[in-house]
């Protein structure tokens, strides 16, 4: 654990990454300067900001989910939140394509909430057993993904937009999207940080938490709602950027330990850094072809997840 160093180094790294995000792209710097369109502020700055916002939202959502189910393998991807939001957003995009983009966020939140409710009902009350949770989550997510695929295949003429969105990409996103995402996170992030102490107490077990005056049911419900909302808004804007919600809290825990007043801000920064770096790599690796950022986060995230499974002895 290196709390001091982390709180100095992470913001610095984030700043460096943000600057590289402005400077790097499919066009070289001279062309950018010569061009009449304001590429840096119109396109790249908004994209950098979006990557930071969405990454922070996904990371925090993961940290909250892990605290709620007291299971290091939990993440919004795994418990069906992402798939639920994905299905709802795809439905909206394919069936009502004329609806304004602003509707996508409430729809994604409702989809995510419904998915979590179904999952909790399937797992059974009170028994948030890790293996059961993960297995039910996987089954539910594949089922929702199958429904999404079915929708995509049955509406081939409008499929492109939805597909790009589903893999998780910042392609074609701009200031409009920043202004949609920002207010949500400005409300949700401080609320999450305010829960720090209560999440610490939840980690001690239900009985100990209750004995210390935390209202366990209410704290858990509140944290779960915040987790779902943060994942849903991020997913609604940038699509399903996978594994950030799982990996960011773990990296943060390695850096600053399990106390949530340190863990949550560091998780947000790590998540932001992961998405930002993935997006820069996605734009530049095969330029002018652009990869979806979600592909890169999955490329890093999936092996890391397997590594976690080998280390986890909870079952």
């Amino acid at each position: 654990m290196y709390p001091r160093l982390t709180f100095w180094l992470l913001p610095a790294l984030l700043l460096v990454a943000a600057l590289s995000g402005l400077l790097l792209g499919s066009l070289d710097w001279r062309t950018v300067q010569a061009s009449s369109a304001d590429i840096v502020t119109d396109l790249r700055l908004s994209r950098v900001l979006l990557a930071i916002l969405a990454g922070a939202g996904l990371g925090l959502s993961g940290a909250l989910t892990q605290a709620v189910v007291r299971n290091p393998l939990a993440s919004p991807d795994l418990i069906g939140v992402t798939a639920g939001a994905g299905l709802a957003a795809t439905t909206l995009m394919l069936l009502w394509p004329d609806l304004a983009f602003g509707w996508l966020i409430p729809a994604a939140i409702i989809g995510a909430l419904l998915a979590v409710l179904v999952m909790l009902a399937l797992v059974g009350r009170g028994t948030l057993n890790p293996s059961r949770l993960v297995l039910v989550g996987i089954a539910l997510s594949s089922w929702l993904a199958a429904l999404t695929d079915w929708l995509l295949v049955s509406h081939p003429q409008k499929v492109n937009m939805a597909l790009v969105w589903l893999t998780g990409s910042l392609w074609g996103r701009g200031w409009d999207h920043v202004w949609i995402l920002l207010p949500w996170l400005l409300v949700l992030v401080p609320l999450a940080l305010m829960l720090s102490l209560r999440l610490d107490l939840l980690a001690l077990g239900d009985e100990a938490a209750e004995g210390l005056g935390a209202n366990v049911r209410r704290s858990r419900l509140l944290a779960l709602l915040l987790a779902v909302a943060m994942a849903a808004v991020s997913v609604a804007v940038c699509g399903a950027i996978s594994f950030v919600g799982l990996v960011a809290p773990h990296l943060a825990r390695l850096l600053v330990g399990g106390a949530h007043h340190r863990l949550l801000p560091v998780t947000a920064m790590v998540g932001a850094l992961l998405v930002l770096v993935s997006d820069i790599a996605a734009r530049t690796l095969l330029a002018p072809i652009e990869l979806p950022a979600g592909v890169l986060t999955a490329l890093i995230g999936a092996p890391y997840f397997l590594f976690l499974l080998t280390r986890y002895r909870g079952w």
């Binding site: 610490d200 980690a203 009985e207 210390l212 209202n215």
Partner: protein
Amino acid sequence: MSYLSIEGLQVGYGEKVIVPDLTLGIPQGKITALIGPNGCGKSTLLKAMARILTPQRGKVRLQGEDVHRMDSRQLARQLALLPQASITPDGVSVAELVGYGRAPWRSRWGRLSREDSTIVQQSLAQVGLTEFADQPAAALSGGQRQRAWIAMILAQQTDLVLLDEPTTWLDIAHQIELLKLMRSLNLAGKTIVVVLHDLNQACRYCDELVVLKQGQLQQQGSPAEVFTAELVRQVFDLDAKIYPDPVSDTPTLVPM
């Protein structure tokens, strides 16, 4: 009216009733042990006192107030619980763990005041863990970890302390150490209710025994008054002789 009174309490898990109808009083300033065979409802009763379980009928009153109607934080300033299965989270230092004991006293933002930090230091000193303050709590040995949890409860600064089988995972030396620590807390003014499995330890280290069987109160009183061969046969279905403990003169059970 007793300090802590149980009035016509019915409690259990879901449909299953463990304690059908119980009325008793816990005296202030003493160590009261809840004893009885497995499944007699002693832990269930303790959980009802600590508000982990909600009664199906009846009340638990602390100095006259119904604990199940009190505000969580207010109650946590008067009553602390050491649960049987506690989880020591990864990546949290011993001092941080003990600091969680200040949770019911902290501001909503959860920052520790200077006064809180002083109390945490005192609690650590009281259980002899001062030099471990900055180490990760999860790395402590079983006995040290239990003491860290006791320190957390000390930091909570409550008058009433409930301990659910605090000696379960400890070896004999650490068990005795913990029971002595429990007595020193009591001498400092705390009322203690403890679930114990070892009857000889209960007789030696507690002032009052509450003997339960199938959720019913069998006997209540000082070990010298109530702990007899007759009671052991009746409650535990065990033939035994009772001798005075050669060190403390309290009753000691020797099975036949």
